[in-house]
Amino acid sequence: MSKKIMVVDDDQNIVDYLVTLFEDNGYETCSASDGVEALVVMKDELPDLVTLDLEMPDEWGPRFYRKFNQDPELADTPVIVISGLSGIHLAIRKAVATVSKPFDPDQVIQIVQETIGG
């Protein structure tokens, strides 16, 4: 059974980009456009990995991260931060990787594979 990746970004174009990328590489996907929605989706889908944008309306990335980590069912889900903000590696210290936009798709796939396998 293939692994599932949740893409969280307020820019629908980027969601579409990542979803296509992951599906092309044989992963299942789900997505959300802000922190509040992301928590709901995450509980439903129980993804193996989350790619997270930091700057989003309503609830930004770090707060969503804290919230899902308080839920034992979801805690410790690996997170890859993908953001345009500078200094992003400090925002979520436990993230497996931080990738700045614009990113190299091969690099993202490599990190995903190293984290949850192909």
Binding site: N13, I14, D16, T20, G84, S100, K101, P102
Partner: protein, 664 residues
């Protein structure tokens, strides 16, 4: 010379013969036939020689002799006696007759007698002349003696005076013998306008003029010029001062300033007896003065012509001098304070470069914002230089301020562009990522033969290219101005929205926040996004001003909305710390912050630009310790210039482009 002779004889024949004989030997002869007649003739003619017969009817010759000798003793009287009248001859000799001859008259004897008479006359004349000469000589000699004595005395006084003056100047400033470098020609003149004495320097440089006329030493005075300084002194009785040119021994011209002083005799109304003339060689002084004048002129010209503001200040920062540029743009009379004229401050500026230069004697630099007479703000680069006195102490400081407003404006502009780029860069990253995504999906769709995915991806690519294009245009057009995205907005609703945002911050710090809004203002044309940023910025500044004021316990902010003519007026009033004039003047410049580390200096600059772009203006009324009031006037209807660009912009961008205004 005609010799007059009076011949007296009662014998007509003798008289005639003798008078012919006498005329032959050169006498002018007058005859008389009696002693009485002879006396009358003598009175008329006063002849030197009288030749008279002794025996005559009436008054005889002896009596005549006696009378003549009484009248004029030096008359030579020769008596003619008969042969044998020896006693008469002796008697006549006793009566001081010159000689006597006997009848018949021997021609030779006559000539001898006449010769003797003439010799006696000549002798007497010589004697008289000698006596007269002698008297005159004695008179002359004694006068000369007197004058010589006087001259000697004068010369002694003169040399003494010169020496004393020389010593005096030497004593006054040891080492600096001004007297030698500014030599004086001293001379004394008498009432005949003759030079009677001169000092050594006079003799060395001009020659020996003693005995010459007073005007002779001047090269341009004509002969008999009694209007020369000395002549005037004698005429007026008062000392004179004039510029003259003397002729030196070597023929050179020596310009001098001539001073004269009358020396009067004893008594109050005494005449001027002598005049003392002292001439100072001003040749060197003239040259130096001219040189000094020229270089002063040059410096003065430079001082005024340089495109800088130059002032010279004393230790109290009082203006000693200010060049034309400074006076034109800032006013500033000598004596006014630099910080008052330049910045409208009561007290000296912090880190004043002039003060530093007074302290360490070095040049210093600073950058200031100053306000001209017409209210314009000018960025100046200030440089100082010490002006030292003779002892090397800093006496004054010169301050040179260069107007760098244009450079500063350009810098501000570039900085803004940088800021704009910084602000949009985050958005750009998202755009580029989305563009990558579009391209990836197109590629991926082609690989899988998924036409739908290709189309979706291509749509994203087009969309992103469009946005990037509009963003780039925004940046490029920043050089003009960011276009307004204006709309008609209800003023009251707008004010309330702004107040909602700002009130939270005030409440957090227990600052009273009061809305003072007029009702029924209707709509006005505004770019609500950026104008609300600007107003929020002013309100947040008011909060900060309250927080920084430690003197008052209770603080309040009033946010007002009203109309003024055809404009909408927002005002933000606080009772915080207030600002001094300098802070107020710098307020709208980029990166100026009165908040120290907590401020960026960006806010008010942007706010001002936003309001100006709307054709409005921001005014500030502030007082240190009392508070500040900002009034923002915005026209109800935007000027056409602010509006028309908007449509082009809307056409160029499909979506609102990022702006710096909202980030302020």
């Amino acid at each position: 010379m005609t010799k007059q002779l009076l011949l007296v004889d009662d014998e007509d024949g003798l008289r005639r013969v003798l008078s012919i004989a006498l005329q032959d030997i050169g006498y002018e002869v007058t005859t008389a036939s009696s002693a009485e007649e002879a006396l009358r003739r003598f009175d008329e003619q006063r002849p030197g020689i009288v030749l008279s017969d002794v025996k005559m009817p009436g008054m005889d010759g002896l009596e005549l002799l006696k009378r003549i000798k009484e009248q004029k003793p030096e008359t030579e009287v020769i008596m003619i006696t008969g042969h044998g009248d020896m006693h008469l001859a002796i008697a006549s000799l006793k009566l001081d007759a010159t000689d006597f001859i006997t009848k018949p008259i021997n021609h030779d004897a006559l000539e001898v007698a006449l010769k003797r008479a003439e010799d006696r006359m000549a002798m007497r004349r010589q004697l008289r002349e000698h006596t007269e000469n002698l008297e005159r000589l004695v008179e002359e000699k004694s006068a000369r003696l007197l004058q010589a004595e006087r001259r000697l005395a004068t010369r002694q006084v003169l040399e003494g005076l010169t020496e004393a003056m020389g010593q005096l100047t030497t004593d006054m400033d040891a080492g600096e013998t001004i007297f030698n470098e500014l030599p004086c020609f001293v001379s004394v003149h008498n009432a005949y306008l003759e030079i009677i004495a001169t000092n050594q320097h006079y003799r060395d440089r001009l020659g020996d003029f003693v005995g010459a006329n007073s005007w002779d030493a001047y090269c341009d005075r004509k002969p008999d010029d009694e209007e020369c300084p000395v002549g005037k002194t004698f005429r007026t009785g008062r000392g004179q001062r004039s510029r003259e040119i003397l002729t030196g021994l070597d023929g050179s011209e020596i310009p001098v300033i001539v001073h004269t002083a009358p020396i009067k005799g004893a008594g109050e109304d005494a005449d001027v007896e002598l005049v003392l003339e002292i001439s100072v060689d001003v040749q060197e002084v003239n040259r130096l003065q001219e040189e000094l004048r020229q270089s002063r002129e040059r410096y003065r010209h430079l001082f005024n012509a340089v495109p800088c503001y130059i002032t010279v200040q004393d230790r109290q920062f009082r203006l000693v001098e200010a060049n034309h540029g400074f006076q034109r743009d800032f006013g500033g009379e000598p004596g006014q304070l630099c910080h008052g004229v330049f910045k409208g401050r009561q007290s000296p500026c912090r880190n004043c470069p002039v003060e530093k230069t007074f302290t360490d004697g070095q040049s210093h630099e600073s950058e200031e914002v100053v306000t001209t007479l017409s209210g314009d703000q000018v960025n100046v680069l200030v440089q100082t230089a010490p002006i030292l006195d003779a002892k090397g102490r800093v006496e004054q400081v010169m301050e040179l301020s260069t107007d760098i407003t244009q450079i500063r404006q350009l810098q501000d502009h570039l900085t803004n562009l940088g800021l704009l780029l910084g602000t949009v860069s985050h958005g750009v990253k998202g755009l580029l990522t989305a563009l990558d995504g579009g391209i990836y999906r197109v590629d991926s769709g082609f690989r899988r033969g998924n036409e739908k995915q290709v189309q979706a991806g291509w749509k994203v690519v087009r969309q992103m290219v469009g946005r990037i294009r509009s963003m780039v245009l925004d940046i490029l057009y920043y050089a003009k101005k960011r276009d307004l995205r204006w709309e008609r907005v209800d003023a009251l609703e707008f004010a309330n929205q702004v107040a909602d945002i700002a009130e939270t911050k005030a409440r957090e710090h227990s600052i009273e926040f009061r809305r003072d809004f007029a009702r029924d203002l209707g709509e006005f044309e505004v770019d609500p996004g950026i104008v609300s940023s600007a107003l929020v910025n002013l309100l947040e500044n008011a909060v900060d001003a309250c927080l920084m004021d430690r003197q008052k316990k209770e603080h309040r902010i009033r946010f007002g909305l009203s109309t003024r003519g055809r404009a909408v007026l927002f005002d933000v009033e606080d009772n915080g710390m207030g600002m001094d004039k300098e802070t107020r003047n710098k307020l709208f410049t980029l990166f100026f912050s009165s908040k120290g580390d907590r401020g960026t200096g960006l806010g008010l600059f942007m706010s001002n630009q936003i309001v100006e772009q709307h054709g409005g203006r921001i005014d500030v009324d502030t007082e240190p310790g009392r508070g500040t009031r900002f009034t923002v006037l915005l026209p109800r209807v935007l000027p056409d210039a602010a509006k028309c660009a908007t449509n082009e912009s809307a056409a160029a961008s499909e979506q609102p482009s990022p702006t710096c205004g909202q980030k302020c």
